[in-house]
């Protein structure tokens, strides 16, 4: 153990104080860092900061004005996501094992972090009083400091020295996820937080009484954790079923659509519309697809297939700009795309059968989701949208990436296409969207877009925002992906050609996978940018996560006065954004490492 300390001390000296210059730099930087954190802690701990402005408004942050009696829908959405996550972790359970020493080491490091902040926290801090005078007060008494310092130091020593004992075991790295998640859920049952209480005169009782966390928070989270755990075991059990992985990927794709169209939204279904319009349309298109699949190999039909394709595309184009129901338009678009793929896939009777199933399932899903999405919502909220707060930010981020990523892939391919018309159109879309600021596009969505749409076609403001967002970040994705495409050597195209692959197979199996993995870092940074840029929607009157913190809570005076407490809220918002983007970039680094396996 002495040797270890000596060795560490030596390497520390070599890396930090190797020369006079580096010693000066080390000391200066340490001084700055410590002072920065001292300042932050002093700021956070002074008595004029009311952190309950954040804590008390958690509901507003998450769902804005979503009515309380429908909260079960929100919990269902979260729960469903966790169940799917549990299943996926179970199915993709890794065989990596984490050594106990690694786990203990991370506890030790966490403890050291707490120690660091406890030691450097300032005893006194000053702030500006209401009358402009500077008030200095004790914010972190010696008793509190020691009260934290001693147990944490003991904790650190235990986890440091445990490495030298015989306690050695390994844990599956997937299991660790549940352990780490278990800690906060368990804490929910023990922690007591200060809570705002009002007296008979509707005035805040100060000091705020410390209360256990409300049942409406801890019970749902516990239920969610338990179902997460259960679905993990179910996932492990289902692991060996054929094609379970593709079913899971598809479920992840459909989950946000399901949540936003059926669960979160409470659609009001008019049965006469469903029976009178949806079902006939569904039937017609099911039959249409069925006929195409059956007769695609028929010699007469085969001869006129290109004519059929042309007519279908023309019909689609006309249909989209006519007064047809939304479902019919989408189905037209779908059958046009479907007809392109059919001849390549339905060569054997087995291929035909699976194609039929795919078509039927796709139509059912489409009809189901579209009916949910197009119906009026049964949830009444003040303002233009039931989405607000974090749910809006999340919606914009997910759908922004969702729609824009495939669009980006198509635009990138189109820009590289040999056909001049496609190339010019794609280049035009990319250059047009990129050269105009995002805010301009948002105004375009809120004010101008309606003018361009044909009469009778109307979209919700959020849908319009999603449309412009899809094109805007799609253009950026396209340029990133084009960069990846250019990094693929010509030999890869030739090799794919030489083994007789069709252009579609060549792109989807050989070129795209390589191009995408070459640009993962830039794709992730585009996704992060899109996530953060979603806060710009405040400018057209939508209440995203940031707006809630800055404007809504900053102006709150009923029932409790939080006016002037927006600094606390801004810090909270910043931390939440940071957690999400940081997690995303760490995950992408892991993915990169994993995909880079074969390459040297």
């Amino acid at each position: 153990m002495v040797d270890l300390i000596k060795k560490n001390a030596k390497s520390l000296q070599e890396s930090l104080f190797s020369s006079v210059g580096s010693a000066v730099l080390t000391i200066a930087t340490t001084y700055l860092v410590i002072n920065f954190f001292r300042g932050m802690l002093g700021f956070a701990l002074t008595s004029d900061k009311d952190w309950l402005a954040v804590l008390n408004n958690m509901q507003l942050y998450m769902v804005q004005a979503y009515p309380e009696e429908d909260f079960i829908r929100v919990w269902l959405s979260v729960g469903l996501t966790f169940v799917l996550a549990g299943l996926s972790i179970g199915i993709w359970r890794s065989d990596d094992r984490v050594k106990s020493s690694q786990v203990f080491n991370s506890f030790f490091k966490g403890g050291l972090g707490v120690l660091f902040f406890t030691i450097i926290a300032p005893t006194n801090a000053s702030f500006m009083g209401n009358d402009g005078s500077v008030i200095t007060e004790e914010v972190f008494s010696m008793d509190t400091r020691l009260g934290i310092l001693i147990p944490v130091a003991v904790f650190c020593v235990i986890f440091f020295s445990i490495r030298f004992t015989n306690v050695k075991f390994t844990v599956n790295s997937s299991d660790m996820v549940f352990f780490y998640l278990f800690i906060p859920v368990a804490l929910l049952w023990f922690v007591k937080l200060p809570t705002i209480q009002l007296d008979q005169n509707n005035e805040r009782i100060i000091p705020d009484p410390v209360m256990p966390i409300a049942d409406t928070t801890k019970i749902p989270w516990t239920v969610i954790f338990v179902s997460f755990l259960l679905s993990y075991f179910i996932g492990m059990y289902l692991k060996n079923i054929k094609s379970i992985k593709s079913i899971m990927s598809l479920s992840w794709f459909l989950l946000p659509l399901l949540i936003f169209s059926w669960i979160f939204k409470k659609p009001q279904i008019d049965m006469s519309v469903v029976l009178g319009s949806d079902l006939p349309i569904f039937g017609v298109f099911l039959l249409w697809g069925f006929l195409v699949i059956t007769f695609v190999n028929n010699s007469i039909f085969k001869k006129y297939y290109s004519t059929y394709l042309g007519v279908t595309f023309l019909l689609t184009l006309v249909g989209v700009f006519s007064g047809l129901p939304m479902l019919a338009k989408t189905c037209l678009l779908l059958i046009a795309l479907f007809s392109v793929v059919v001849p390549a896939v339905s060569t054997s009777s087995q291929g035909k059968r699976s194609l039929l199933i795919v078509w039927a399932v796709a139509l059912v899903t489409l009809t189901f989701l579209l009916r949910g999405g197009a119906s009026d919502t049964g949830i009444v909220v003040p303002g233009s949208s039931i989405f607000g707060g974090f749910s809006l930010t999340w919606l914009l981020a997910i759908f922004g990436t969702y729609v824009s990523f495939p669009l980006g892939v198509l635009l990138a391919l189109g820009r590289n296409s040999k056909l001049p018309i496609i190339r010019i159109v794609c280049t035009g879309i990319i250059e047009l969207t990129r050269s105009v600021p995002y805010i301009t596009w948002l105004f375009f969505a809120s004010v101008t877009l309606a003018v361009f749409l044909p009469a009778g076609v109307e979209f919700n403001l959020i849908v319009r925002v999603l449309m412009v967002t899809a094109f805007f970040s799609g253009a950026y994705f396209a340029e990133n992906i084009r960069g990846g495409l250019q990094s693929i050597p010509k030999g890869q195209y030739e090799a794919a050609d030489a083994i007789g692959m069709s252009p579609f197979q060549k792109i989807s199996l050989i070129i795209m996978p390589q191009a995408l993995r070459a640009v993962i870092p830039t794709l992730v940074s585009s996704a992060i940018t899109a996530f953060k840029d979603s806060s710009l929607v405040t400018i057209i009157g939508l209440f995203d996560f940031l707006t809630i913190g800055k404007t809504v809570i900053g102006n709150q005076s009923i029932p409790v006065n939080f006016v002037g407490h927006d600094r606390e809220n801004l810090i909270f918002v910043a931390i939440v954004y940071w957690i999400f983007t940081f997690t995303l970039s760490r995950r992408s680094m892991k993915v990169e490492k994993k995909l880079g396996l074969g390459e040297r």
């Binding site: 030489a498 083994i499 390589q514 074969g598």
Partner: protein, 242 residues
């Protein structure tokens, strides 16, 4: 019965004429070695045979199908003609096994088990069955080229084209690739090989051709070609290379 026939094939890259009228044919089961100085059009010529390059004039008929712009014909011919490149061109994101099964599954529409069995068989034939689950980046050059040969053979081609298969290899690795090619030649495969390995030409070729400046200068049996060449250009070439 000739499996490949070309008539007066001409090809230009911009103003530069790479092929100045090549007429030849290859019989089924024949091993043809094509040599010549660099820039003589030999690689361009064999790349025209599976239409990685388009010829502008003349006629190329492979296995009874003429090469035109018809995409269906091209795909049909490409799946009958295997090609091995100088720089291997393995797919770096797929394992060796996936590299070999990919075309069987997607182009030949075979099921996975069947194509994996075939792939193992071929890997044993080229002598590296133990590398099946590795990625191309983890193999040596010679091993990569052998995987490339296995990948081409997986399509069960009637014709194999080799575009300088050993030029990017260390001298020690050349032998292992040439051994595989010799074995292949003995099994009766129709092969066109662009190479500078004269030893290989002497040993297995049925016919040797010399290209220079886009023209077919000499076409001869290996014995005649090396011992008693007809044209002066061949003599010069041989004196430089041997």
């Amino acid at each position: 019965m000739s499996i490949i026939q070309t008539k007066d094939v001409k090809k230009w890259f911009g103003d530069f004429q790479a092929l100045k009228g090549i007429t030849m044919d290859v019989a089924e089961g024949e091993v043809l070695v094509v040599c010549g100085p660099s820039g003589s059009g030999k690689s361009t010529f064999i790349r025209c045979i599976n239409r990685l390059e388009q010829h502008q004039e003349g006629q190329i008929i492979v296995d009874g199908i003429e090469l035109t712009n018809d995409l269906k014909n091209i795909e049909a011919i490409r799946s009958e003609v295997g090609m091995v490149f100088q720089s291997f061109n393995l797919f770096p994101h797929l394992t060796v096994m996936q590299n070999i099964t990919l075309a069987q599954i997607w182009v030949r529409k075979k099921n996975r088990a069947e194509s994996e069995e075939k792939a193992m068989e071929l890997l044993e034939r080229v002598g590296i069955p133990e590398q099946a689950q590795k990625f191309p980046g983890q193999l040596s050059g010679g091993q990569q080229q052998r995987v490339a040969i296995a990948r081409a053979l997986a399509m069960e081609p009637k014709i194999m084209l080799f575009d300088e298969p050993t030029s990017a290899l260390d001298p020690e690795m050349i032998k292992e690739v040439l051994d595989v090619m010799k074995e292949l030649a003995k099994s009766g495969m129709t092969m066109i090989v662009v190479t500078h390995e004269m030893g290989f030409a002497k040993e297995v070729a049925d016919r040797v051709m010399l290209f220079d400046e886009g023209m077919l200068v000499e076409e001869n049996t290996p014995e005649e070609f090396f011992n008693n060449p007809k044209s002066d250009r061949t003599k010069l070439f041989l004196s430089q290379i041997l």
